[in-house]
Amino acid sequence: MRFVEDLRRRMLRFATLQLSDIGLAEDAVQEAFVGALRGSGTFAGRSAYRSWVFAILRHKIADQLRAQVRYASLPDDEPSPDVLVEGWFEADGHWTETAAPSHWGDPHTALQDNQFWSVFEACLDHLPEQQSRLFMMREFVELDSAEICSATGVTTTNLNVSLHRARLRLRNCLEQHWFGSEDARS
């Protein structure tokens, strides 16, 4: 079944990224499918099923990351310079004219728009890998900072640097491709 194969592949990619271990990732994905089977028959279509199975996977990954202490750690190198983000501020620390945020009005109406979510995903997709991994741990898997530092070996300072950059990039990307465009504002 193509849908399930695609779903499984995507889940495995996400789990592998988060856990840095293909074996653990496969186990987590398998458990998520088994968990979803227990609730089968209650889904209103594929999207509901996908949301459900991903919710289970998210919990599995959170449990696994909490249980492992620096098992899947990345070397806590100083985050390499992010020249894109650094270019958004003048030498004196003020926003450059082109990068300065504009007012988004009430952005929450966008959450009802499927096209917004495509843009949102594409913006997530364009984060550098380390920023993406940490940002997703924080905001999608919903680990707190201490849990992320414990699971990855990244220091709090470096975690904050990566999250700051990820937020700057996402904000900028959404503004460029959604909130700043005429059709999105109308």
Binding site: R13, F14, T16, L17, G45, S47, A48, R50, S51, F54, A55, R58, V83, F89, D92, G93, H94, W95, A100, P101, S102, H103, W104, P107, H108, A110, L111, N114, Q115, W117, S118, V119, F120, E121, A122, C123, L124, D125, H126, L127, P128, E129, Q130, Q131, S132, R133, M136, E139, F140, E142, D144, S145, L159, N160, L163, H164, R167, R171, L174, Q176
Partner: protein, 92 residues
């Protein structure tokens, strides 16, 4: 405190309570800087939208929309496998 510092503090405030001195500096900056006030609202919105994204049950429209609204990767960095994997979650 300049804008770069203020955005750093606003991001950090999503993770932990700021030290009193930093909070005061941030508030002073925000009082005079509408750009950073907007940034602060947008950071909060990002968290809310990530929650909505994690929980949303609607189908994503799909890759054809991304082709229609292409997003250039500013410095030519490769898509991270991580983010790509994640973006794939709700359909491409």
């Amino acid at each position: 405190m300049n804008c770069n510092d203020a955005t750093r503090a606003l991001s950090a405030a999503q993770e932990q309570t700021l030290a009193p001195g930093e909070r005061t500096s941030l508030q002073s900056h925000l009082a005079i800087c509408p750009l950073c006030r907007d940034f602060g609202e947008q950071v909060s919105f990002l968290r809310q939208s990530m929650r909505a994204y994690a929980g949303r049950a609607d189908d994503s429209p799909g890759a054809e929309n991304l082709v229609a609204r292409p997003i250039s990767n500013s410095r030519g960095k490769k898509c991270s496998a991580a983010a790509a994997a994640y973006a794939a979650v709700s359909g491409e």
